[in-house]
Symmetry: C2
Subunit: 363 residues, 2 copies
């Protein structure tokens, strides 16, 4: 169980020049054999491969190749949190899966780059040996954005913001929020909504605001959804200044339950418009614990269309973050000329219906 941490490399370093000498050709022929095989005669290729096999040469050194060519064969994924968070958040995971899928096609490595908004994070991201970046949604005023523009490398941001010089991919969050809220409020059958919002910036305690002003929110995703919920309220004649919005601290089921417990202290509330399925499922948990009937007494909407949401009968906004991740990465890798428009739809289920409630625990 004990291995020396400083074992010397078993193979002395074999270089292209060594292979060239052994094969009796020039270094360039070896380089071409690996990089532009079409340019090289079969005879030469065979000699090179034979010599390489004999010497244990495993191909061009990547660092040297990167230095000379400026290419890295890898893509950076910037996550606006500790990586531990990225690996736990279901939506981030789907997005990452999509990126990974694109990388597999392109034989590209995937470098994870957390962005905790410290200077050193920006430096590390800027200096990373990658050919481009896919960024998980961040704030409009993130100084990282300018740093990414300066790199001159193709960059695509999921969810925005729409920063000059950078590409982005998102659904029309505002329209989708309006649509799902309209389904829940069901042409004024319900008139007292409350909103459970994703955390803005680095909020560490949850806060409730009535008549929240979306333009105060710097996370573009949260802002657009809030705008959409408000659009629906205004259109349906609901006084926005009375509508409470609770900003959560993180995207987790227990946090959603906590939020719902708080908001449901107001007995008038008949609708919860929730910005993620995780949070919404927590809200359903809390409603069940309080004996609040869904949907007759309370309607709940989520966002993401997770498996659990479908199982729980939760009305939600469906968007494929896998597709968005894949599309963003493929554009960065130059496999697509443009990022595909991201589609969405409202999945209408029991949690906003008038008859059947959601099954509380599917088996």
């Amino acid at each position: 169980m004990s291995v020396s941490r400083y074992s010397d490399p078993v193979n002395t370093r074999v270089t292209m020049a060594d292979v060239a000498a052994a094969a009796g050709v020039s270094t360039m022929s070896v380089s071409y054999t690996y990089n532009q095989p079409n340019r090289v005669s079969d005879a030469t290729k065979d000699r090179v491969h034979a010599a390489a096999a004999r010497l244990g040469y495993t191909g061009p050194n990547r660092a040297a190749r990167s230095l000379r060519s400026g290419k890295h064969n890898s893509i950076g994924v910037v996550l606006g949190e500790k990586l531990t968070y990225a690996f736990e958040d279901p939506q981030a995971r789907r997005f990452l899966s999509g990126i990974a899928d694109a990388c597999l096609d392109a034989d590209t490595a995937l470098v994870m780059l957390p962005n905790l908004h410290r200077d050193k994070d920006i430096a590390r991201i800027r200096d990373a040996q990658v050919d481009g970046y896919v960024v998980w949604t961040t704030e409009s005023d993130d100084p990282l954005l300018d740093a990414l523009v300066d790199t001159g490398r193709p960059t695509c941001i999921q969810g925005g913001p729409d920063h000059p010089g950078l590409e982005w991919i998102t659904i029309d969050d505002r329209a989708a929020a309006d649509a799902v809220a309209t389904v829940a409020l069901d042409d004024r059958t319900r008139t007292h909504p409350a909103i459970v919002a994703l955390r803005p910036d680095s909020l560490r305690t949850s806060t409730v605001v009535r008549g929240a002003d979306p333009s105060d929110v710097s996370m573009p995703v949260t802002r657009a959804r809030l705008d959409g919920y408000r659009d629906a309220c205004l259109r349906l004649g609901i006084d926005w200044s009375t509508v409470p919005t609770l900003f959560t601290t993180h995207n987790a089921r227990a946090e959603g339950a906590r939020a719902a417990r708080l908001l449901l202290q107001d007995n008038m509330i008949d609708t919860l418009l929730v910005m993620s399925d995780e949070l919404a499922l927590g809200a359903l948990d809390a409603a069940a614990a309080f004996g609040v009937e869904i949907p007759s007494r309370l309607a709940v909407t989520g966002w993401d269309d997770s498996t659990a949401a479908a199982a729980a009968g939760l009305t939600t906004v469906a968007q494929s973050l896998f597709d968005q991740g894949r599309s963003a990465a493929r554009w960065v890798l130059g496999l697509n000329d443009s990022v595909d428009a991201a589609a969405w739809r409202v999945e209408e289920r029991g949690s906003t219906g008038l008859e059947t409630g959601p099954k509380p625990c599917p088996t």
Copy 2:
């Protein structure tokens, strides 16, 4: 929304030599300023920093640094599946989180390297610009292992196998399996166990075997757990040759339910020893659907001590994969001299008790 894919770098490349010229010092003084600041006088440092700021120099080019020094400031994580799987599997995620945590401490980048067991995967992993590897458990005969030894880079494998020249970290799976099985069989109160095993190698259809021979299984984790379950059976006088083992195709709740449905066709079965919580929760689902009472009619054990397992009252083996990931990565990074021994314990809960069943749906 349209950005040129080929925007030229805004900043013309600024080199160390440029900064040195502007500061009126040698290139080496610039290099020392960034890499060994203690060696440089404050006056020189100030001049260098001023010149760097003036020219927009952001620090040494990483590719050149890697080529010259042979160091990369990054760590490779080898996952024995498509990355999409790694991001979805709860256990793999916890392990990744631990690695990410160690990387954060060490200011090290994290490179994800899928291993689909094709030649090109081995080549990519071997050639990756990383200083060492953390490997998610793989098969004993994986050719990757020799390739990793050849790199001469520190490598630590979670769950084994124990390959000469490579470090590994794991719990004593065999002892833990023995212990949890002993709890379930409860001194011969129950006498007809069946086993739900993690998939070995690249099995694509689930198969049932009676008296399975652990030494036929190439995944060291699965083998050790099977060994442990058998140890318990032999000690308690249960005829191993009659004990069915079902090898699943993947680690998912629905697959666990499917496995349980199959195994419970034999009415004698009174115990399910399951190698993951995901699968075990599926088994509980199936039992509930059949009206099979837990634990009076059927005992179930899991593995991993997930949150869901605790909520469902599932007896399980607790091990911290986060800690294992962190410990493995810290050793690879040279922050620890040895990998910490990984601890485990049996969490005894209602699913193996004699009185209370698990709560089917916690809120």
